[in-house]
């Protein structure tokens, strides 16, 4: 197999948790607020089933092909030519996704922390760091996620607790003023994030305890939902109807923390959380892209692809958008119409699953022949 290392189901769950929440925790509240207003904390509940669905489909496909990733079994399900084509589309989408993430990271760091530093230095540093981790393989990324997660939770809860003096319950009232619809509309935006759970089809074959893969993936979805709800509640309680004015409300909220004159301006804490999370997130997608490309090209080893792919997504990430206005427009279109993550996270796997289901008999026959 192309990847020699193995990770545990728990590590996979943590990886996915980081991959979703790292950017979500910052950008979700204000994007959801547009539609959902004071009900933003309900939206994750509506979006959660999509995450569960994508995990379910990925797991079902995994049970059909326990040792292969989506790039490999799409060839088997659709035939070599169509399968390669689908794999190509999938990889393109993943490349774009990873590049957009890197752009977001670069933009955020430049605008919030280091306005005078050239962007390519910041992006280049992150890509190099991620390349280092991806080169180490899946095991290393899994361990990194595991080391980061306790610090993440600790800092997250510290921030929540420190924000408590600033909350006011009446800001989230009235609950469901205009019925369910606003929160459901808001949840559509969240599909972008929850659909990314589909990417576990790259990790399921490398689990030590495969039978726990589904459970751990589902659990990860639920924890993500819970974290998002908690974040949204806190944000709405602190900011009320000014939430949408902030690009990253959680970050801005921490600026208002002031306890005993000493604990003030804790945005560095958020930055630490977010940077570590984004690192894992980029690593996850970077790794998926590298592994997928290597499998698409039928290489025996993916290590030689790490730096070229890194260069590619780094440069894409630099060029993704001209400025944040263009990016905002892109995200608006993506969140309302064509969702790239939804395509690779849910639609493609679902399509494959149905084709496999229809051709099931033949596939099992062939499988049996191969085993013999």
């Amino acid at each position: 197999m192309i990847e020699k290392g193995k990770i545990s189901a728990l590590q996979m769950g943590i990886l996915m948790y980081h991959a979703i929440i790292a950017t979500g925790i910052l950008f979700i509240p204000s994007t959801v607020y547009e539609a959902a207003k004071q009900d933003i904390w309900i939206s994750p509940i509506w979006a959660c089933p999509l995450g569960l669905l994508s995990v379910y489909i990925a797991y079902k496909l995994h049970t059909l092909y326990p040792n292969n990733t989506i790039i490999q079994y799409s060839e088997h399900i659709l035939g070599t030519l169509l399968g390669k084509l689908l794999g190509f589309v999938l990889l393109l989408l993943l490349y774009t996704s990873a590049s957009v993430m890197i752009w977001q990271y670069g933009e955020f760091v430049v605008s919030e922390f280091l306005p005078h530093t050239p962007k390519f230095v910041i992006i280049g540093m992150m890509v190099l760091l991620c390349a280092f981790a991806v080169h180490g393989g899946l095991e290393v990324i899994g361990r990194l996620a595991e080391m980061v997660v306790p610090i993440f939770f600790l800092l997250f809860f510290i921030i929540i607790i420190l924000l408590l003096p600033d909350i006011e319950i009446k800001r989230m009232l009235p609950v469901m003023e205009n019925g369910m619809m606003p929160s459901i509309k808001g949840s559509v935006t969240l599909y972008t994030w929850f659909a990314q759970f589909g990417i576990i089809y790259f990790f399921l074959p490398f689990l030590t305890n495969r039978e726990k893969g589904m459970k751990s993936g589902m659990f990860s979805v639920l924890i993500v939902t819970f974290t998002l709800m908690l974040t949204n509640i806190i944000i709405i309680l602190v900011f009320g109807n000014v939430t949408e004015n902030f690009n990253a409300p959680l970050m801005s909220a921490t600026r208002y923390i002031s306890i005993a004159e000493f604990l003030s301006h804790l945005e560095a804490l958020v930055m630490a959380i977010w940077l570590a999370g984004t690192f894992i997130k980029i690593c996850v997608f970077y790794y998926a892209v590298v592994l997928g490309t290597a499998q698409w090209l039928n290489l025996s080893n993916y290590h030689s692809l790490v730096l070229p792919v890194g260069l590619l997504i780094g440069v894409f990430g630099m060029q993704a958008f001209l400025n944040s206005a263009e990016a905002a427009e892109h995200f608006r279109i993506v969140s309302q119409g064509f969702m790239d993550t939804l395509v690779y996270g849910v639609i493609i796997p679902m399509f494959l699953f149905f084709v496999a289901y229809i051709r099931k008999l033949r596939i099992f026959k062939q499988k049996g022949r191969r085993e013999r």
């Binding site: 280091l114 530093t117 992150m126 180490g136 361990r143 080391m147």
Partner: protein, 519 residues
């Protein structure tokens, strides 16, 4: 390019092999004494410390006693070898071999049949007895040379705990282990490494606790070492560790028998190298480098608190100067206003940016520390006086550094001493400097990136198959009870899992004493 290197390597290997072939092939002893002596005289030509003493056993057989001056016990040789053997035999024509069995009052007698074994025995101090007309020689266990006594290890001091430490002699060291583990399941395998030094290396483990493949792997790695000499266990450490390009130690080094024994009991392997009091423990993990033997002798709450203190100071020793630089240069808003004013006030006269100031002071401090380690004792006082001037009021008065910087440097210096093992404190001392540069260029973002890079590197490390960061990553809930906390002894029921099969339970459960209800 690589072909050129390959050719070079090939050439090197060839030459190396040719030199090696000159070494003595094992030859059996001759039955003729004179012939044997001729060979030995030739081998030990120009060795003025060799003593050849010829005598006649019971007026019949010619014999020769050979030993190295200063390495054998001469009094015992006189009274227990020469005196009884020279005496006349009661009957005529008695067999010299039986005579030796009857009269030689030496406990340890080994028969040797080749020149190789002869040299081996001589070099560890055992005198050799050769007889005329006999193809066997006798090595007498009368080695005795000057060695240091068992003293308190100066590198690993404890408040509470045994005060004995390993010495330079492997024999003494094994006896220290054997005195603590009486069970015959304590096994020791001896290897000889070093073309010239032929250093004794002992692989010590407890049968049934250590994984067999682990022992096999360690002996394989030691056996493939081909080097002219082993002078310290550091040689072995560097040649057997998994990742040679890592600043982090992947083998634990200790001078304390109790630490070695507790590691043996956890299924690890102890490697004793003759000639040094430092033994190696493998495999090891990052967290075990922060454990001190004393942790288990004090109350578990105290030990846990001490461990937290160590981790806190680890972060301080790595990050404090970088944080200071980042905050002063990029994130002034994080400092409360009054504190900021004081800091600005004291920095006003300083001509350097914070990064330069910090680098200057940290490098000076490291220099002073290094100087303090190596200087002869007589000059030590001078260093401490000058040091106090350089990092202290004088530097501030001269307007070169600010007051807070002095505090930062001093605290960082103290922090790196709180880590119980010297070899894990060094990489963090070293990594402080790149972290400072990152902080000076990218602020807190740079620090975070540096931390993530260190973490990534540590995640790639393995020590003899055990992930370096385990049991935190990969997470093993059962083994976490002895990492960040030290659980009470009655809870430490299982051994940490290293590799392969292992003996899981180390003690009976429910050993906590409980107060009887009622009565």
């Amino acid at each position: 390019m690589s072909r050129v290197f390959n050719r070079r390597k090939l050439k090197f290997n060839q030459k190396n092999k040719e030199q090696q072939d000159d070494k003595l092939v094992p030859k059996p002893l001759y039955p003729n004494l004179d012939q044997n002596l001729e060979v030995l005289h030739f081998l030990y030509k120009d060795c003025s410390d060799m003593v050849f003493r010829s005598f006649v056993i019971a007026d019949q057989t010619k014999a020769q006693l050979i030993y190295i001056k200063g390495m054998s016990n001469i009094e015992e040789m006189d009274s227990n070898v020469l005196t009884p053997l020279i005496q006349k035999a009661d009957q005529q024509s008695i067999n010299p071999k039986t005579l030796i069995e009857q009269r030689l009052s030496v406990a340890e007698v080994t028969r040797i049949e080749s020149f190789d074994a002869c040299i081996d025995q001589l070099s560890i101090g055992n005198p050799i007895l050769l007889l005329e007309g006999n193809q066997q020689g006798f090595a007498l266990g009368l080695a005795k040379w000057e060695k240091r006594g068992v003293e308190e290890p100066s590198g690993e001091l404890v408040v509470r705990g045994p005060r004995e430490g390993f010495t330079e002699s492997a024999g003494v060291n094994t006896s220290l282990l054997r005195r603590k583990i009486r069970s015959p399941q304590l096994k020791m395998k001896t290897l000889k490494v070093g073309r010239y030094t032929q250093t004794t290396i002992m692989i010590t483990y407890i049968e049934g606790l250590s994984d067999k493949t682990l022992i096999e792997e360690i002996s394989q790695r030691i056996k493939r070492i081909d080097i002219d000499g082993i002078l310290e266990s550091g040689y072995i450490e560097e040649l057997i560790q998994d990742n040679s390009y890592s600043p982090f130690p992947q083998v634990l080094v200790t001078e304390r028998p109790d630490t070695a024994v507790s590691n043996l009991l956890e299924g690890r392997v102890v490697i004793i190298v003759d000639g040094t009091p430092f033994v190696l423990v493998a495999p090891t993990t990052f967290y075990s480098l922060f454990q001190s033997g004393e942790d288990y002798y004090h109350h578990f709450m105290i030990s846990t608190a001490t461990r937290w203190l160590r981790f806190l100071f680890l972060f301080i020793s790595l990050l404090l100067p970088s944080f200071y630089i980042a905050i002063i240069t990029y994130h002034q808003e994080m400092v409360p206003t009054t504190l900021l004013l004081t800091m600005v006030d004291s920095r006003e006269a300083v001509p350097f940016p914070a990064l330069v100031e910090a680098l200057l002071m940290e490098i000076t401090f490291e220099g002073l520390r290094e100087a303090g380690l190596r200087l002869p004792k007589q000059v030590g006082a001078a260093v401490s006086i000058v040091g106090a001037l350089v990092i202290g009021q004088a530097a501030v008065d001269a307007g070169l550094v600010s007051d807070p910087m002095v505090m930062v440097v001093a605290l960082t210096g103290i922090a790196s001493f709180t880590i119980p093992r010297y070899n894990i404190a060094i990489p963090f001392r070293m990594l402080r400097f790149p972290m400072m540069l990152l902080a000076g260029t990218f602020g807190l973002v740079g620090i975070m990136m540096g931390l993530l890079a260190i973490l990534t590197h540590m995640s790639t490390l393995r020590s003899f198959g055990v992930p370096y960061l385990s049991p935190m990553a990969p997470m093993k809930g059962k083994d976490m009870k002895d990492t960040l906390i030290r659980a009470p002894l009655w809870k430490l029921n299982t051994r940490p899992h290293l590799t392969g099969e292992y003996n899981e339970y180390r003690q009976d459960s429910d050993q906590k004493t409980f107060r009887r209800q009622g009565r």
